[in-house]
Point group: C2
Chain length 321, copies 2
């Protein structure tokens, strides 16, 4: 048995890999789908219907999060949320997260404990467990997250099933994280609701399986921006998408912030990423579930238009560009 | 539709995230278990028996691999191997890999294509597909890999099932990667077989499901070193393990290299990590599958001994230490 690290140890090098894994897993409870949790070569997760949904994301300090803008718990919650949301966007219910953390030897233990605590918290919100992971050393703090999900017998809702005549609907916040980023970028810390949206996305997890059960023909997680992500649906489905601005709800709070900063709130709604709303297409008005707002329709052709015209500002975010 | 990058583009920033994802997924074939491969919010993988086995690892440039010692393909193969091996160590057959790559904007496209090519190659060796991933920017090159596996109706073989009187057996190479590291560390590039073992682990993938079917009571992937990893089995099972040196096969090639370097080949076999052999316990001699060598037995007490005595050199590798 390795000795426990001293209680005053405050860097990951002092506590060590195995001590740290013990600290971040001790006392945690798992959902019934976790058949075998952390501590072995691999975890074992229950699957109800012969198929598992799985997605992975990598988040990098200074690129996807800033520890001077967000607490470690907020970083962990966000890292979990972006990936859990991908699983929900297939129509699946999240069951499990695996987390990898690479960080410098002098990283405070409290930072890693905060990040993992946030990951556990967000997993619990979505109904998932944290079933495994890896911790290692790196010059840059990098968090990798893998999420598993269960379709519960439904068919996965891909990006390629949108058909001409379908209605386009969204569920969840749009533009809030972009507004928060704009506020933080100007050096402000309020309004809290907007800044908080940048730090803590609140993906509408249950809306994914809800849309799948309601017959959604395509679905995507809005991570790069509404126009960019609907562009993926349009490309993969071989159709065009038209958004109607009169249907697009811009929250009064965003209008206030945009006015204060001299910015365009509708641009945040159309292009802001990181809120992790869901966008989906449905065959008709009767199939739209509660909580979803129709914002447009699927038309012949290709690409995404706004009120029938091309949108001229840059449509989203792409890495290394 | 985004334009294709020009064919002469040679950094990830020039090709862009989406162009690079297209390049590394184009023309690849998937096994039948890949129900939905790369390109959507998440992948969908078939599971035969209501349970999925899953493990994740993070590999960091300069920590887990060195691009001056290994080709990008070798780095990719190794990144896949370490994780596929974890899945096999539960007794599962690997079905899928997900890969995350974070790298600087000026990283040559060929480097990322080489790494992903190696990941695809090793996945194919184990019978798995590459079903998804993420690419993003980072100051440090970091590769995260998640592997899924299928138990095929067998029970997972954990670290906690070893019983007093069981035999301890291993399958696969031991000490070769440590010998290769010693050779490279002295600035040599040969013998090729030994150096190659450090660059390209060859985990005995089919031996995992084979051991599970044969009734193995516990199993572990030898990644940190035989003594360290059997120590995990001893701790988790509440037993002791004794290794008999007269049963321990030290390959003549390792004896030659050790002699040339003034090193101890048996020390490499007992403590060298990264070969990804499998170590397991079996109830009796009749249950040991072909290809496995008995090296000792499970005794009362705790910890790992060699010929009944404690082993005095450091037992393995722990990160940040």
């Amino acid at each position: 048995m390795r000795p426990e690290p001293p209680p005053h140890a405050d860097t990951v090098a002092e506590v060590g890999e195995f001590g740290l894994i013990r600290r971040v897993t001790a006392g945690r409870t798992q959902p019934p789908t976790t058949l075998l949790g952390p501590g072995d070569d691999a975890a074992v997760v229950a699957v109800s219907d012969g198929r598992v949904v799985v997605s992975t994301d990598v988040l990098v300090d200074g690129v996807h999060f800033r520890l001077d803008w967000s607490s470690p718990e907020q970083v962990g919650r966000k890292a979990a949320a972006v990936n859990l949301s991908d699983v929900c966007a297939m129509g699946a219910k999240p069951t499990a997260l695996l987390i990898g953390i690479a960080c410098p030897a002098d990283t405070p233990t409290a930072l890693v404990e905060g990040i993992t605590s946030g990951l556990w918290q967000e997993a619990a919100v979505a109904g998932a467990g944290v079933v495994g992971g890896d911790m290692t050393s790196s010059a840059t703090l990098v968090i990798s997250v893998t999420a598993l999900g269960d379709m519960g017998g439904l068919e996965p809702v891909t990006r390629s099933g949108a058909r001409v005549g379908d209605l386009v609907a969204v569920c969840g916040r749009l533009g809030w994280a972009a507004a928060g980023l704009a506020v933080l970028g100007r050096g402000f810390r309020s309004p809290v609701a907007v800044v908080g949206a940048q730090r803590n996305p609140e993906p509408p997890y249950p809306a994914g399986p809800q849309a799948a059960a309601a017959g959604a023909t395509s679905m995507i997680d809005v991570s790069d921006g509404l126009l960019a992500d609907l562009g993926h649906v349009a490309d993969e489905s071989g159709v065009g998408v038209d958004i109607r601005t009169e249907l697009l709800q811009v929250h009064p709070r965003l209008l206030d912030v945009a006015s204060a900063l001299g910015a365009d709130a509708r641009h945040w709604v159309l292009t802001g990423g990181e809120d992790h709303a869901l966008a989906a297409t449905f065959p008709d008005q009767g199939s739209i579930p509660d909580g979803w707002q129709v914002i447009g329709s699927v038309r012949p052709g290709g690409g995404v238009t706004v009120d029938g015209r091309g949108y001229e500002k840059p449509p989203g975010w792409e890495h290394w560009r």
